[in-house]
Symmetry: C2
Subunit: 349 residues, 2 copies
């Protein structure tokens, strides 16, 4: 910019009306013999003291618009953008927050989002059932799912109970008490599996499982395993604790047997849960037009959420280990929303 | 103490040689008519200015030894100890740190301790095998265990990979790469299950599983499920990544087939693992006289630890959901050391 003379300032050699220092020095040398001190200190400092600097004339030489347009054109074309030390210089793919797509007619009508903002749509019960059936065909058997649900839901329950603060050897005098209300069906078996894992972590568990003539095999197997944990099991709600417990886990409902609710064991267990002041965690609850018989503080869905009528319950989602392509088989475009976790909270979008 | 006159001080009414204030006031009132101001401000302040207080006489009245013995006897018998606000007033049972007992001849010879100080003894391979067999008889099938091991080991691997910091939607351009080296046996199937759960959490997994004529059913089932996660599977170590990966999970060894090590697929896979600079996690490794063929940074045992010859590997223990009484059946006195977690680090005691 100096070379083209457009931008001039008083200190530069192209300034008119001011004699440059080099000229002054040369003038002193050529003008005749001088002492060394004169050469050093006596240089014509006051030669131009009387002639004023021509501010206006200099300003007229400066074409501000032309200079600025040249500067801005340089920035746009040739120069690279600069980065701060904490900026990422790798090109980042745009984040897709809507990674799970559900066929329109199978959409549950509700959308949730995860802590990191990923959108998780709810699905109809029918689609959810087909998803699990498809996973079973590929080898993700009911037994496997029971175990995964047991591990993950007990991990959630353990953290609700206070996690490492509550369950330390120094706290042996106040072990948490958890009551599991389980119906004689698959959902109930999931609760029994959760209860076994809780009992394995020194939680005092009380399992409520009604006596039934035709108990499903998955339930009786789980109950046998549970019995090995030397924890309590009761068949009547009269034998449930009368004092408030730390947590109630509700697995009374079955998706396809709404008539269960009219049985006496169901009603007495639901009554007990609503009267006990403990908070309730519902695992894989039946959803539909009828309201929940036991009001849950937390609801845990498996794989993808179903619709919950009431918004009071906090919704959580459990990863039951279904691979991506199984989702695709039933028409769901899927990308895991779980990050590094197996149980995540879902927020109403 | 005032009533028995033993303890006297200058301000009290029983002090000799000092007229109490109430007497002074009354004296002023009874002595004749006074103005209000006199009554208020003119009270005989200087009545006793000349009589010195009898310190020695008063001191002689005070039997220090008798008073102190009475105070200390009160403290010992009648008074409750006082507590600070952060002290526990509930009586605490003494903590038993040695809660797991193993028959002497089945003891692995090593003892570990958990973060909270609980002692976990190692067991012989024979006892470990009987423990798992007993659990299977009660219904904790191999399939269930495969799923639990898959969930828990993948949780451990996810946290080794960086956990929530690494696996966030904003980090989609640098997904972690994990190679699973699996033999054609139960231990290998555990690795495949771990791989599926990792793939379900957006880890880029590469499964190495050699082609075998007689593949165990548990392995082929796991591999089928894994194939649904649309992740890579290779049968030759030549197809494994040539660049360092984030983590290698080693499930090559089988407890009861030491001869596997002489097969070419085993040797080439072990060579690859030792040449790739990635850290290695060994799940349920075979232990014995021969050293590990792949040097592991972390070792994960199931249920109870076996003996590791080398101390370089950090030892972790995984809860596979075996109930207490199953441990007792094989002679192990058991009390869960896991607290609220499913995978815990073990330290050499």
């Amino acid at each position: 910019m100096q070379s083209d003379g457009l931008c001039a300032s008083p200190g530069q050699s192209s300034v008119r009306g001011a004699t440059p220092a080099s000229q002054r020095k040369n003038a002193g040398r050529n003008g005749g013999p001088r002492t060394r001190d004169d050469e050093c200190f006596g240089g014509g400092t006051d030669d131009n003291m009387d002639s004023d600097f021509d501010f206006e004339g200099n300003l007229a030489l400066f074409d501000k618009a032309a200079v600025f347009s040249k500067i801005s054109s340089l920035g746009a074309e040739g120069e690279k953008p600069t980065y701060r030390h904490d900026q990422n210089i790798l090109e980042v793919k745009p984040i897709v927050y809507r990674q799970i797509t559900v066929p329109q007619h199978q959409h549950g009508g509700k959308e949730y989002c995860t802590d990191s903002g990923l959108v998780v749509p709810s699905v109809t019960f029918d689609l959810h059932k087909r998803l699990l059936a498809s996973a079973e065909r590929w080898g993700l058997s009911v037994e496997r799912r029971l175990e995964t649900v047991g591990v993950c839901s007990s991990q959630m329950a353990l953290s609700l109970l206070g996690g490492p603060n509550r369950l330390t050897p120094k706290n042996g005098h106040q072990l948490p008490v958890v009551v599991l209300l389980c119906g004689p069906h698959l959902q109930g078996a999931q609760g029994v599996s959760c209860g076994r894992h809780l009992a394995n972590h020194q939680v005092e568990t009380v399992l409520f499982l009604p006596n039934c003539l035709k108990m499903q095999e998955c339930v009786s197997r789980e109950a046998t395993l549970y019995s090995r944990s030397s924890s309590q099991q009761v068949a009547s709600s009269r034998d449930l604790p009368q004092t408030p417990v730390d947590l109630v886990i509700n697995c009374l409902d079955h998706h396809e047997s709404p008539l269960l609710r009219e049985q006496s064991w169901y009603q007495s267990a639901a009554l007990w849960a609503n009267q006990n002041r403990a908070p309730v965690l519902s695992i894989d609850p039946a959803v539909g037009a009828v309201p929940q018989s036991v009001e849950a503080k937390w609801t845990l869905f498996l794989g993808l959420p179903l619709d919950v009528e009431r918004a009071e319950s906090k919704v959580y989602l459990c990863d039951v280990g279904i691979p991506k392509r199984v989702f695709q088989e039933v028409g769901i475009g899927y990308h895991s929303p779980f990050g590094c976790r197996f149980v995540i909270p879902l927020h109403t979008a």
